[in-house]
Each structure stands twice: as C-alpha cells, then as structure tokens.
C-alpha cells in the first residue's frame, strides 16, 4: 500500500525484512524485486505521491509540486550549475525524459579494470537490463510522435553524415505530449511511480510518503533500522515519528542526498570517500530560429540523439525542450528584444548536449546548515568539450536551415551565419561563460574493491556497516556518459538478488527465525 501523509494518525513502529530510503530508480526497483522474492519491504519516501491527475500540463506548477527545492537546486562553483532533482514517489524518474540506455562497454571495462569490479560482468548485467526493459516497455521513440523539433535536428545531423538515431525510452503508447519532465499526463512514461512502485505495493510492500528518514540505527556494526518523521506537506513541519526495525537497510536517496545522509550521520566513511568524486554530466543547450513553425513543445522532448562524438570526446547530443514558461529564461536579451524573441517562440527549436565529465566535485554537509552543499568547478577539458558541443549544435542547426542560432553563452547572444560558428570554435571560453544545467549526479559513494578507496563493495554493501546497502547513482565509480537510470536499475536488480541470497541463507540457518 502507498500511504499518504493524511493516512498517518499516530507514530508508526513497523518491522520488516528490508527498509528502503527513497523510491527512485534504485529504491523502487529493489523494493519490487525483494517484495516479489517474498520479503517484507518498507519504503520511506520524503516526497509526496502524485498521479496523472496532479500533472496539469503547466510546468511551473509541477516544479513547485515535485521538484526538490522547487527546482532551485544548484552546484556552487564556476559556473553555477542548475541541478533539478525529483522529490516525489518515483524520485527523479517521475520528472525525467525517460531515456533508457545501457552502460557503454568502454565504461564498464574501465570499472572492471580500474576499480576492481570484475564481478560486474557484461553478460550478467545484460540479463538485468533485459528484465528491466521488458518491464518498462523500453523501445526506440516512435518517429511519428518525436515532433518537428527533433526531426529538424536529426535532418541536420543526417545531412552532415553524423551518427544519429531515435533514443530508447521507457514509454508505452507514447503520444508525445511533451511533458515528460513535469509528470506524464497520460501515464505513458513508465517512471517508477507508475511501474515499479505500484507493483511493489501490489506485492505487499508498504510505501510511506512525506516521510523523512533521519537516522539509520546501527548495532554491533550492522544496520538494524531507520528512524524518521513524517513531514506535513503544507507547512513543512515534522509531525509523527516512524521507527522501522529491519534486517537490511537500503539507502537510495540519490547521489546528492545519500552521501549527505551518511556525512550527517557520520556513517560508512572510514575511507573518507563519501561525498567525493561528484560527477553531473554537465549540459548546454542551443536555440535555433527557423522560418517555419516548429512548436518545440509538441512531441517527445528527448527522443533523438547524435553519438558521433561520444567515442572520442564523450559528448552526446540529446534533445531537451520545455514549454515557454520554463524555456523563456534561457533565451538571450532583456526587455523588448527578449519579448520579440518570445513572440516567435513557436519558430524556435531547441536541442542540448551532455558531456561525460572528468571534473570531480563534492557533496558536503556543512555544520549548522540543513541541506547538502554541492561544489563543482568545471575543469579545462570539460570546458573545452562544452564549447565543442555548442559548436556541433550550432553547425547542425545551420545545416538544418536555421536562420539564427542562440548559443546560450555569455556575451554571444546569437550567431547569424555558419561563419560565426567557425569563429566560436577559436574563442577561449571560461566555465562562467556557459549556462550549464545537469541532471545526472553520480559517483559520491563509489563502488570498488578497495575499502580504502571506495564506500561500497561490488554488491553495494558499505564496507563499514554490514547490511547497509547504497543503491543509486552515487555508487558509480566514474561518469557514465549516458543517461543513468537504466544502470541504476540494473545494479539495483543485481543487488536485490544478492540481498535475497543473504536473507534466504539467514532464514535457513536460523530455521526461519527473525535474525534481528
């Protein structure tokens, strides 16, 4: 059952086999898998539970409802990067674009060879990917509903002979309403809130929403429970308490909040690695003005990719479009000039790019401050590749027939000819010249075979606290290079199988008695 704040009338004390903190790509999958294997599961989710009836096709409303800090999460550094995160049942999957890609082989090879993760085999992971893809109806985006915006971009890329295609997505009968990032209003996108979480609930898991986990109880070096409070969604005040007694705790609060939770509670950090190695896949975007109507808000916002530059440069061009209210602030100028551009918004196309970053930031838990602080300063190589991304985007837009390109760079409001793209290549840009957004925090509780250099082992169990598992993108040892949700889910499925083995073995050893 999925319990909302209104369902809680007194303090809650509950026992279970597995307690999960977070209901995103990691938590939801592990909850469903373990519930299916017959274990009692409790999920604690800080956000509220929203359904398609709450998704009203108005982006800002959705941001206020389902985004952490109302969409105002950002990293500090050069430049300041906007980092939207979901705070709702389903986590960020409820508000992401639904892109489903497997780990690139070269990245997995790097993890195996340089981080001691040989057990993370391609073949084994492949089986988990297949299982997830089947459950989430993963298939390439239907060209009929990708929208003019994406087709125009692909046309440009095709003309240049670049490797391009339609992205694989977790959507069933998608009609291209264009609102993936604000909650799919027809339930086509198979985010966790419509797939794994309802299934976990059907299988007997209890999902407590508006419930903030504050502490993990540890006895004799083993995690034994979760302590927390329910939070009134209107006032933000803590009200009733929750105490979960359990055999296994899964921390799946994402790559920002999982390390923050550990740092704040001084847990699992003998290696000193918690909160370090933050990667975010920095993204830049460009707009392009055409003579004809584009209607960029129609169609699947992220449905086309260009991977021509991935192998050599770690750059993937992927669509990123939002309706006018959210997009308006990315366009240049102020006053009448800005209004003139916005009045032509129906003729403006948009596309983005994502860089597999080598920059390493950090997540900190500062004293006397109740939120994580993220520090992230783009290094020279990532700046160079972001600049190259803008060059490629502009080049493709002009080839597709754009009259003007808006590169979203400081002091370069627009490019009016392909010649200016050549000039842009030669400029020496700084981190602060870009408007950077990022959607994929990773790496802050990295996985590895050396307890002095990593936080969790290959089964996602922390080196320091037994029966405490971390299951989200924070365990990735490096940048993934592609959208991470599928790999989070694959690792969660693998971890669920491992935990099932541990719990079943304990049951056999103790004749089915509760080990705790």
């Amino acid at each position: 059952m999925i319990l909302s704040y209104q369902d809680i009338h007194s303090n809650v004390k509950v026992d279970c086999d597995v307690a999960v903190i977070g209901s995103g790509a990691g938590g939801a999958v592990i909850a469903k898998e373990l519930a299916e294997m017959g274990h009692s599961v409790v999920v604690v989710e800080e956000g509220g539970y929203f359904t398609r009836k709450d998704f009203r096709c108005r982006p800002v409303e959705s941001m206020l409802l389902m985004y952490r800090d109302k969409g105002q999460t950002f990293t500090l550094g050069r430049p300041i990067c906007i980092l939207p995160l979901g705070k709702t049942v389903g986590g960020t999957t409820t508000i992401n674009s639904g892109t489903c890609l497997r780990i690139p082989p070269k990245v997995l090879k790097d993890w195996q060879e340089n981080y001691g993760l040989k057990e993370l085999g391609e073949e084994e992971l492949g089986l988990f990917y297949e299982r997830i893809e089947k459950f989430l109806y993963v298939q390439p985006a239907d060209p009929e509903v990708v929208g003019t915006n994406n087709l125009k971009f692909k046309e440009g890329a095709d003309k240049l002979g670049y490797s391009a295609g339609f992205l694989r997505r977790n959507a069933k009968e998608c009609e291209g309403t264009g609102l993936c990032a604000f909650g799919c209003p027809i339930d086509a996108k198979q985010s966790m809130n419509v797939s794994y979480i309802p299934e976990a609930s059907n299988l007997g898991a209890s999902i407590y929403t508006n419930c903030l986990a504050e502490k993990i109880a540890v006895e004799n070096g083993r995690a034994t429970g979760i302590l927390g409070h329910f939070v009134d969604p209107d006032s933000g005040r803590k009200t009733k308490s929750i105490q979960v007694g359990t055999k296994v705790v899964i921390l799946a609060a994402g790559a920002i909040y999982s390390p923050y939770f550990l740092l704040k509670n001084k847990l699992a950090n003998s290696s000193g690695q918690v909160g370090k190695h933050l990667r975010i896949h920095p993204c830049v975007g460009t707009g392009a003005l055409f003579d004809q109507d584009i209607g960029c808000w129609d169609g699947i916002p992220q449905s086309v990719y260009v991977d021509e530059f991935f192998e050599e440069e770690g750059i993937v061009l992927e669509g990123a479009v939002t309706p006018p209210d959210v997009q308006s602030n990315t366009l240049p100028y102020a006053g009448n000039e800005h209004a003139r551009l916005m009045s032509q918004f129906s003729k403006i196309a948009l596309f983005g790019s994502m860089v597999s970053d080598t920059t390493e930031g950090s997540v900190r838990a500062l004293p006397f401050y109740h939120k994580p602080t993220m520090l992230y300063d783009l290094n020279k190589d990532d700046i160079r590749r972001l600049q190259l991304s803008v060059v490629h985007l502009a080049e493709i837009w002009f080839t597709a027939g754009a009259k003007r390109v808006y590169p979203m760079l400081a002091r370069i409001p627009e490019l009016t000819s392909p010649k200016q793209v050549e000039e842009l290549k030669r400029l020496k840009l700084k981190g602060n010249d870009f408007i950077v957004t990022a959607y994929h925090p990773m790496g802050t509780c990295r996985m590895g075979s050396d307890p002095t250099k990593s936080v969790v082992n290959v089964n996602c169990e922390t080196w320091d606290v037994k029966k405490l598992f971390i299951c989200d993108a924070s365990v990735f040892p490096t940048s993934l290079g592609v959208n991470p949700q599928m790999t989070i889910m694959a690792i969660a499925t693998r971890t669920a199988a491992y935990i099932d083995g541990v719990l079943s073995k304990n049951k056999c050893n103790k004749g089915g008695d509760n080990e705790r």
């Binding site: 398609r52 998704f55 009203r56 096709c57 108005r58 982006p59 800002v60 409303e61 206020l64 800090d69 109302k70 105002q72 050069r78 430049p79 300041i80 069933k172 009968e173 009609e175 309403t177 609102l179 209003p185 027809i186 339930d187 086509a188 198979q190 419509v194 797939s195 109507d293 209607g295 808000w297 309706p323 006018p324 209210d325 959210v326 308006s328 602030n329 240049p332 100028y333 102020a334 006053g335 009448n336 000039e337 800005h338 209004a339 003139r340 916005m342 009045s343 032509q344 918004f345 129906s346 400081a410 002091r411 602060n432 408007i435």
Partner: protein, 149 residues
C-alpha cells in the same frame, strides 16, 4: 494592487519595486498579451516565494532591494534609485545587467528574470498566444490513460 494590500512574503516596498521592474524586464511585443504587473507580483509572492526555500526567498528579496539602490549605480549613467528611472532607463539597466562582465551579477539577473518569466509566460493566456495551450493539452490528456498489461 492597492497599497493597503498585504503581501505574504514581500514587503509593500519590495512589491512596489518589483511591480515597477516587471514591464521592462519582460518588454513589449505586439504578439504577446499585455503584462499585468500586479497579477505577476501577487503570483510571485503567494505562489512562488511562499513555496520556495528561506534561502531563495531571502536572495530574491535582496535582489529586489539591490535593484532599487545598487544596480542603478553599476549600470546607470547617473545615479537615481530604480523607482525614479524612466522605462527606457530601466530597459537599458536590465540589458546591461544581463550582459555584465561579472559572472555573479550576470547570473543574478538570470535568477531575477526567471521568476518573472515563470509568472508571465506561465499564464495560460500568454502561453496560448505563443502557441502552447495548456488547457487543451490537459483536456486531451484527461481523455487518455495508458494502462500497463
């Protein structure tokens, strides 16, 4: 908005500065509906700032006051408080603020404008004039629900 009206998060003075800034931040174009600065201030106050974090609210209020007292000094030709600038002077100030060489200043303009853009372009009437019809989309979407097998 009557001066006697109370605001939830902003002081009346801050609301007055914001109200004076909105038309020139957004600008005018015949393709767009007129700007209702009163309504946008009310929305920012009750719908956005009231739901935002304390830190964001404080920063935004600081920017409003900085706009009144400091930014005319940085970006104006002669010093006058913001409320006494003409529309042309305000537009020039915003243009210069948005193009500032100092990153934090430039970025603070983006933040200041962001909330105003949400308040204006988020209105159904405005987004419909651009071509994005939230009401129709919602009506269409409500007729359709994908069900898992």
């Amino acid at each position: 908005m009557e001066s006697s009206e109370r605001y939830k998060m902003l002081t009346r003075y801050e609301a007055e500065i914001l109200k004076a800034a909105i038309p020139d931040v957004l600008g005018k174009d015949e393709g767009l509906p007129p700007v209702d600065a009163d309504g946008i201030v009310r929305w920012i106050d009750t719908q956005y700032l009231a739901k935002s974090s304390f830190e964001f609210r404080t920063l935004y209020r600081f920017l409003i006051l900085a706009l009144q007292f400091f930014f005319p000094l940085f970006f104006g030709s002669e010093y006058k408080i913001f409320l006494s600038l003409s529309s042309e002077e305000k537009q020039r100030l915003f243009q210069k603020w948005s193009e500032s060489k100092l990153y934090l200043l430039r970025n603070s303009f983006t933040l200041f404008r962001l909330v105003i853009c949400f308040g204006y372009y988020g209105q159904d009437e405005v987004s419909k004039a651009i071509g994005y019809d939230a009401e129709s989309k919602l009506a269409e979407a409500s007729k359709r629900q994908v069900v898992r097998d």
